[in-house]
């Protein structure tokens, strides 16, 4: 049975129910489902999910992240992905003969890339594949837990911002967002608005109106 109402606020140690499905940010203790973070619960039938309000990024397989090259190693790169653990990218992602070629020809220290996490090991250190260089533009950091709202259901929110502003946007699950092109400031304002009002209803419509107003007043 689920003991909480939909959209109820919870805190660490709050018992959510005893039995039923559950998502992340909760654990089972003594037959109870217990929340492990501050957040809001969503209840769907016999399943309870905790949506955290804040928190750092923990690497997850198949996430697309925006990273910064930290170090060029022998045959691989060390990449910062805004997390507590390290990410490596094999030299083979850029060249066939990684050991004998100068990898800084492809990516140097400080270069920004978007890449996919192919593997996370037991020490939470991750392996990146398919790097894509992000040239120029700017990177902003937002709360990683709000990224799902910035993207929206079936990417609805992100596509709307892209369409209305004409801005090129790459969203990393690790809380970094790369933007380049027209109406940069408006796009950033919209993203900050989403971050602030993430847990409210009808957000897509309101952000749509906000973007229209902003762009019209130019």
């Amino acid at each position: 049975m689920i003991d909480v109402k939909d959209r109820e606020l919870v805190f660490p140690g709050r018992i959510l129910g005893d039995g039923g499905g559950r998502g992340g940010d909760s654990f089972i203790d003594g037959g109870h489902i217990v929340s492990s973070v501050d957040g809001m619960v969503r209840v769907k039938g016999n399943r309870v999910d905790v949506i955290p309000f804040r928190g750092g990024y923990a690497p997850k397989e198949s996430d697309v992240v925006i990273g910064i090259i930290l170090q060029v190693l022998r045959g691989s790169w060390l990449v910062d992905i805004n997390s507590f653990s390290k990410a490596y990218m094999r030299g083979e992602e850029a060249t066939r003969d990684a050991l004998n070629s100068d990898l800084s020809r492809y990516f140097r220290v400080g270069d920004r890339i978007s890449a996919k996490i192919s593997e996370v090991n037991e020490l939470k250190s991750s392996q990146l594949i398919r790097p894509w260089r992000l040239e120029d533009g700017i990177i902003i950091e937002v709360n990683p837990k709000k990224i799902p709202r910035v993207v929206g259901k079936k990417r609805s929110m992100l596509n709307m911002i892209r369409e209305k502003t004409g801005c090129r946007i790459v969203v990393g699950q690790n809380g970094r967002i790369w933007l380049k092109g027209n109406n940069l400031e408006t796009a950033i304002k919209a993203i900050r608005k989403i971050e602030r009002e993430a847990q409210s209803r009808g957000l897509t419509n309101r952000v749509g109106e906000f973007l229209s107003n902003e762009l019209q007043s130019r």
Partner: protein, 244 residues
């Protein structure tokens, strides 16, 4: 410390500040008041004023202290020079090192440190004004700050002390009672499962007196738990934003 002749800590069952023996001081908690820290809390507990801040888990340094099975939680307890009557010499001393250690250990059993192998979690507790019971106040504030940061925890940590004044067992001693009283028992618990994560004793108590002190401190900690919950919920209500 010498006590003035004829000074009484108890009069007609009331204490110096008019509290009953089983009454804790007023506790007030504000959540998320520091912008740069991942999570923070400001707590006023009677005349104690405590600020706690926490960072997200990050790479642990020095490297030799890393643990590949879990994160290392380090708590730093520090008293401001102006927090007590006589200026406190700044920097770590034996007392604050001890408190840092016991706070780290108490918090480590609440935070799910297994989620962050090889990482370090830094918590700092700053005592701005001290009036006895600062380790309990610091622990209470730190656990709220960790919850505010969204670092996963099994439960909040709630804490309260009890002690013996003028031969009677009383909860949550204030400065005069602590200085001139006979004993002090700080206690911290994980309220959901009623697990004890910190228990110390200063001075002497008989077995029965200890049981009574433990019970009073436990009930005090449960009261503090309610205040922590209310503070977290109200801070979340404000970030939830409009449209609801």
């Amino acid at each position: 410390m010498k006590r003035d002749e004829g000074m009484k800590l108890l009069e007609n069952g009331k204490r110096l500040d008019g509290r009953a023996l089983d009454e804790i001081r007023d506790v007030k908690i504000e959540v998320g008041i520091l912008k740069r820290a991942a999570g923070s809390a400001y707590l006023e507990w009677g005349n104690n004023k405590v600020l706690a801040g926490v960072y997200y888990p990050r790479e642990m340094h020095p490297k030799f202290m890393r643990d590949p099975t879990k994160a290392v939680l380090r708590c730093t307890y520090n008293m401001a020079p102006f927090s007590v009557d006589d200026r406190k010499r700044p920097g770590p001393d034996r007392r604050s090192q001890e408190i840092s250690k016991i706070l780290s250990e108490a918090l480590s059993s609440a935070v799910i440190i297994e989620d962050y192998p090889d990482a370090g979690i830094d918590v700092s507790v700053e005592i701005l004004q001290a009036d006895a019971g600062t380790r309990c106040a610091g622990l209470t504030a730190a656990s709220v700050a960790i919850a505010d940061a969204g670092i996963p925890m099994k439960d909040l940590v709630s804490s309260c002390a009890a002690g013996k004044i003028d031969g009677e067992i009383a909860v949550d001693l204030m400065k005069e009672e602590d200085n001139y009283g006979e004993s002090d028992v700080p206690l911290a618990i994980l309220p959901r499962k009623k697990e004890v994560v910190l228990l110390q004793m200063d001075g002497k108590l008989s077995r029965e007196e200890f049981k009574r002190a433990y019970k009073l401190a436990f009930d005090g900690a449960m009261k503090v738990y309610e205040i922590q919950k209310a503070a977290l919920l109200s801070s979340m209500n404000s970030v939830k934003g409009d449209g609801e």
